[in-house]
């Protein structure tokens, strides 16, 4: 990796890093409504507007449904558009999420994860994201503040690519990342703008040439419109790599769709996403230092699902543990587990998989928990057909 520029270093909370990335990314319209733990993003952007540091239009809407609606309208004009939300806010946007993706509008949204009410809780799990998993949005999960900052910038490039034209989400755990202050190497604004260019959609709203977006489809062509979106998702897998190439070229930073940590020679591999990936790597590092053979596969890009890369990282494992920070009630296992098992099966691999659900409603996962989970993976009896709940009381 070559470092081609000097960085300015700042101590930022995850939310602040998102706002900074948006300010630097030549965004035209932000329509957002505050909700904990995403609030700082909206506050910070409002502050930038007041200070004259953000030149885009900031629309303080009255709800998340309106936020996404305003984003849809703005994006249809060809503007670069951003919003942010959490939990109930994302749920309230739900129907508009499908309009954004169906109308092929490259909106970028930050989601500071928070579990859904009831009972009311402010802390993180991925239940909010998984609820919108099938809405046709690209989903990327970050595990630290700098990655949140970098991904926010990258997603404009990915979404606006003519081969993609799909909205995308940068997801990170509320409080754990949204409110945690970390060291961030801020990039040069000019370099970011050169990397991003400007959106150039095929269609844009223009009063002189009226268009209807997302006009009616009947049973004879709705399926085909969805096929186009599925193809765009497939394209996004390759474009994601190109975007990372372009970003690495000026920043020296790269994450990958999937990260494999000492999976080559590991007999036990844990699959995780979000901030727990780092925790599990710390646990793996300690165990490997003591002579064990364990690895961690981090899924950073979740939709589209990078099945080939996931399988490549798991090919040598004797036992796999999947970790879902969302609780799909009544399902055989969590969404990540089901995707991983499906990818393995598709590649002809019959490796035993233990499906863990953990960290629901913000329950903490420590490095010691990580070690315990690797320990559980030694015990064949733990590999049952049903999912195991890690850390539930009673």
């Amino acid at each position: 990796m070559t470092q081609t520029q000097a960085f300015s270093v700042a101590a930022l909370q995850g939310d602040e890093a998102v706002a900074e990335a948006v300010r630097q990314s030549d965004v035209d319209v932000v329509a957002a409504y505050p909700i904990t733990p995403q609030t700082i993003i909206v506050e910070k952007l409002a502050e930038f507007v007041a200070d004259g540091r953000f030149k885009g239009e900031f629309i303080p809407v009255e709800s998340e449904h309106s936020a996404m609606s305003a984003c849809v309208g703005a994006a249809a004009t060809g503007a670069r558009v951003f919003t942010a939300t959490s939990s109930q806010g994302l749920a309230y946007m739900h129907e508009m999420l499908y309009n954004a993706s169906g109308m092929r509008l490259p909106i970028v949204m930050a989601v500071a994860n928070r579990a859904l009410s009831a009972p009311l809780v402010l802390n993180a799990d991925h239940g909010d994201m998984m609820g919108s998993r099938d809405s046709g949005w690209i989903q990327v999960y970050a595990e630290n503040v700098e990655e949140v900052y970098d991904r926010t910038i990258q997603l404009f490039k990915l979404s606006e690519d003519p081969r993609v034209m799909l909205p995308s989400t940068i997801s990170f755990e509320g409080f754990i990342i949204s409110h945690d202050k970390e060291r961030v190497r801020l990039l040069d604004e000019g370099a970011i703008k050169r990397f991003l260019g400007r959106p150039a959609p095929k269609h844009r709203l223009d009063p002189n040439q009226p268009l209807t977006f997302g006009a009616i489809a009947n049973p004879d062509n709705y399926f085909e419109f969805k096929m186009q979106q599925a193809q765009a998702m497939k394209n996004a897998l390759a474009v994601f790599r190109e975007v990372e190439d372009g970003f690495e070229a000026f920043s020296g930073r790269r994450y990958g769709a999937v990260d494999s940590y000492s999976t080559e020679n590991a007999d036990r591999v844990v699959v995780a996403n979000g901030c727990s990936a780092g925790t599990m790597r710390a646990a793996a590092r300690a165990l490997n230092a003591a002579g064990e053979k364990v690895g961690v596969l981090t899924i950073r890009l979740y939709r589209p699902f990078p099945a080939e890369e996931v399988v490549a990282g798991l090919r040598n494992a004797k036992a796999i543990v999947t970790m879902d920070r969302s609780f799909s009630l009544g399902a055989p296992s969590g969404p990540i587990s089901e995707d991983v098992k499906s990818a393995l099966k598709g590649a002809g691999l019959g490796t035993p998989v233990m499906s863990l659900v953990y960290g629901i409603g913000g329950r903490d996962l420590s490095v010691d928990d990580g070690k315990k989970i690797f320990g559980m993976a030694r015990d064949e009896d733990q590999f049952t057909a049903t999912q195991a709940l890690y850390g539930v009381k009673g």
Partner: protein, 88 residues
Amino acid sequence: MSWKELEEAAVVKGGTSAGYIVSGWRVKRPVIDEAKCTNCLICWIYCPEPAIVRHEGTKVTIDYDHCKGCGICETECPPKAISMVREP
């Protein structure tokens, strides 16, 4: 049509509904008995589509390309000059 040929995002230009033929939606079609029709234009007012056509000097006619066969004109016609007839 193949998904490769469809216009992405279901984007259509404005003013295209005039060219969109909905005659296939009908089960029954309205037929005007010209002898009973007084050209009062009640059907023209009530028709939810622009499917009743006014003319200078002659009585209203029906634009069957844009009539969806809802039957409101038959219900509202004061002299009962319109009847819904099953499409062949």
